[in-house]
């Protein structure tokens, strides 16, 4: 891809982070949220998984729940709970809080809900739409930026596709109106962007290509770049790019104290070099297959555990996303 300047992610209203499980979606969500909050934006991060991951990444051991909590200045995190959102919505519509709670708490009704398709996605998006519309004390929006850590199943595509299906299937009524609102929020090319997160490996690379293609041909949510997480650093220092070759040329009988078998040196170097070349290859493939600029994020050797790791990703993510890509 040609190097070009991409609009800043932190200036959007809604970023939906998506990707296969294990690609580091949550780390990217946390890093983007932190970067935007440091720029003075009021940010809401929405966790959609069963277990809360974001609080730990942002320096809190306590769960945030559906009500949410401000974990860093200007950075609020909530966990989306479709049942809570449904209760909230039905209470608004029916005005009978206890009745709604009683019915939703019923085992049989739960089973019906558990088995019913689509409502989770629709109510989740409806709640996000509602949050986006909310005004703060000063009359401006309550949140400048909402970042959704979308579910991994089917790349979160089901989540994004439901409003379109509802608009197509339901002829009239409040449900259709709500779905239309949500759909136009998702398709807004200025406010909204889908942010796929990939790894430089075969399976994630191919799935990202499929994701981008189905987004282009179906849902129509804007997508302008792919984050490629976990890029290993160049294996050999500057000026020693041929280190693996030098080590391979060592005589097999070289006497090196501390090394029983000097060939281990060459094998390790070869392994590290090959893994790096492979990652580079897939970084290139992701760009070629999706036709989108790629933004590589470095592999943190110890994993991403807390606020310090998130900060180091945020530092790479934001100058990079503002400027250029491969």
């Amino acid at each position: 891809m040609l190097s070009q300047s991409l609009p800043s992610l932190t200036r959007r209203r809604l970023v939906v982070v998506t990707g296969k499980g294990g690609t580091g979606k949550s780390s990217v969500t946390a890093a983007l949220g932190l970067a935007a909050a440091r720029e003075g934006r009021r940010v809401l991060l929405v966790e959609t998984g069963r277990d809360e991951v974001l609080p730990r990444l942002l320096g809190s051991e306590r769960a945030v729940g559906y009500a949410g909590r401000e974990l860093q200045p200007g950075l609020t995190v909530m966990r989306m709970d479709p049942y809570e959102a449904l209760a909230e919505y039905l209470t608004l519509q029916l005005g009978l809080r206890r009745l709604v709670r009683g019915v939703l708490g019923n085992k049989g009704f739960r089973q019906l809900l558990d088995a019913s398709p689509g409502w989770r996605e629709l109510i989740t998006l409806g709640k996000i739409w509602h949050l986006e519309q909310q005004l703060g004390p000063g009359g401006g929006p309550l949140f400048d930026l909402i970042v959704v850590d979308a579910p991994a199943t089917g790349h979160g595509l089901t989540l994004l596709d439901v409003p379109r299906v509802v608009v197509a299937a339901v002829r009239a009524g409040p449900l259709r109106v709500n779905a239309e609102r949500v759909e136009s929020m998702l398709r807004d090319p200025v406010a909204t962007v889908l942010l796929p997160v990939a790894l430089p490996e075969e399976l994630p690379a191919r799935e990202t290509a499929e994701l981008v293609s189905s987004v282009r041909h179906g849902i129509g949510i804007p997508v302008d770049r792919v984050i490629v997480n976990g890029m290993p650093a160049p294996p050999f220092p500057k000026g020693l790019e041929d280190l693996d070759g030098m080590l391979e040329a060592l005589p097999p009988d070289a006497l090196i104290p501390g090394l029983q078998d000097p060939a281990v040196l060459a094998r390790c170097a070869h392994h590290v070099g090959e893994r790096h070349a492979l990652a580079d290859e897939f970084l290139g493939s992701i760009g070629a297959w999706t036709g989108l600029p790629t933004v590589p994020l470095p592999l943190l050797s110890g994993g991403v555990h807390g606020i310090a790791d998130v900060e180091s990703l945020a530092r790479v993510l934001v100058p990079k996303v503002g400027a250029a890509a491969t």
Partner: protein, 390 residues
């Protein structure tokens, strides 16, 4: 030889390979299949969504949703000889679910009513984990035939990797649930004297949903359920049988896991949930573990006299000095990676030993396993006593 894994491949009729996404579940299933076929088993690998190169390697791209014996040349290259046999199939879950409807529908009209129902397509995707259920259903069907000694099931890549285990029970619970009965027999429920508070409340919520969702939505649901009810007996009976098979003596579970702290933590939590289901854990296969390709260095010596000797051997010049320093730093990073993966796997190893299950470490190869030769090497490693550098 690792007797435990060999015993599993010889004695079980079904081996279910579970794991979180991206840990090499499909690769592991295929390599287990080769290992079993080499032991003389007529083996079927039932996979869901293999990476393209792996599918090509097995000739899966040309397969439909029926088992196909892999070609003679694939048998040869994988060192599989008679009586061992290797077949593979790719599961098309939607197709399987349609097949169920076709089988259990009592009349043609009932079948058509379901397949044409506007919400069937979505319901069949989401109904009680039907995708997962379909996978189990297919395994059951195949296990009833005598064509295979062993079926290796690569489970669907779902967010909640064990959903499929609960799928039969959930499907049964759903069909028996009071709300489904209410939807099926609204007149009956309303006519009962003293009909319960819940039903009044539920009816009210349903009315509201109807109001919100526009005309016809609940009608479609009710019609779908009514049509479905005719088949529910067949479904429930089958779900029970599938469950018995899954948790019976003929089936064993293998957990595939990735390296590193995060993947190990995910795998451990998956194991805990697997235990709770009562499934029999046979083993844990830890993929892509960083291992020393030979004897590990003694860093005390290497960083002292070793560095001088290395610099000398690399050319007694400043570049040799730099290269020796860089090589030692690379070795230290490598050592840190080895230690990290070893540390991360401790919990899994402990869990496996408590369950009496085996633990295999498969080293990270220079390139990812993406072809038949790679699978054959992995099959070797699976049955070896100690993981070796390939």
């Amino acid at each position: 030889m690792s007797p435990q894994i060999i015993e599993m491949l010889r004695q079980r009729r079904i081996v279910v390979c579970v794991g979180c996404g991206g840990v090499g579940k499909t690769t592991t299933s295929a390599a287990l299949g080769i290992a079993a076929a080499r032991l003389g088993q007529r083996t079927l690998v039932l996979t869901i969504d293999p990476a393209k190169r792996l599918a090509d390697a097995l000739g899966l791209d040309r397969l439909g949703s029926e088992p196909t014996r892999l070609s003679h040349s694939i048998h040869e290259r994988a060192s599989v000889a008679a009586p061992g046999e290797l077949s593979a199939m790719m599961l098309d879950m939607k197709h399987t679910f349609d097949g169920l409807v076709e089988r259990f529908a009592k009349t043609d009209a009932e079948r058509e009513r379901i397949l044409r129902n506007p919400i069937y397509e979505h319901v069949s995707d989401a109904l009680a984990g039907s995708a997962e259920y379909s996978a189990m259903e297919k395994v059951f069907e195949l296990s009833e035939s005598d064509a295979f000694d062993l079926i290796i099931l690569d489970t669907p890549p779902s967010q909640h990797a064990l959903d499929f285990l609960e799928a039969p029970a959930r499907l049964m619970a759903f069909l028996e649930s009071s709300i489904v009965q209410l939807l099926l027999h609204p007149a009956f429920a309303a006519g009962r004297t003293g009909f319960r508070w819940f039903q009044r409340g539920a009816a009210r919520v349903l009315q509201t949903l109807e109001k919100l969702s526009g005309v016809g939505f609940l009608e479609d649901i009710s019609e779908f359920l009514l049509a479905f009810e005719g088949m529910s007996e067949g479904f429930q009976e089958r779900a029970r049988e599938v469950q018995e098979l899954l948790f019976g003596a003929e089936t064993g579970f293998v957990l595939a896991a990735g390296p590193g702290p995060e993947a190990s933590a995910q795998a451990t939590s998956l194991l805990t949930r697997l235990d709770a289901t009562g499934a029999r854990l046979e083993g844990v296969i830890l993929n892509r573990v960083l291992l020393w390709p030979g004897e590990a260095p003694d860093f005390d010596l290497l960083a002292g006299p070793g560095q001088k000797a290395l610099a000398h051997a690399l050319g007694a010049n400043p570049r040799g000095d730099d290269a020796a320093a860089a090589a030692i730093s690379l070795m230290r990073d490598f050592a840190a990676g080895v230690a990290r993966d070893a540390q991360a796997s401790l919990g899994l190893a402990e869990h496996a030993s408590r369950a009496g299950a085996f633990l295999r470490r498969i080293p990270e190869f220079d390139r990812d396993i993406a072809d038949l030769d790679g699978l054959a090497v992995m099959a070797d490693l699976l049955v070896e006593a100690e993981a070796q550098w390939p």
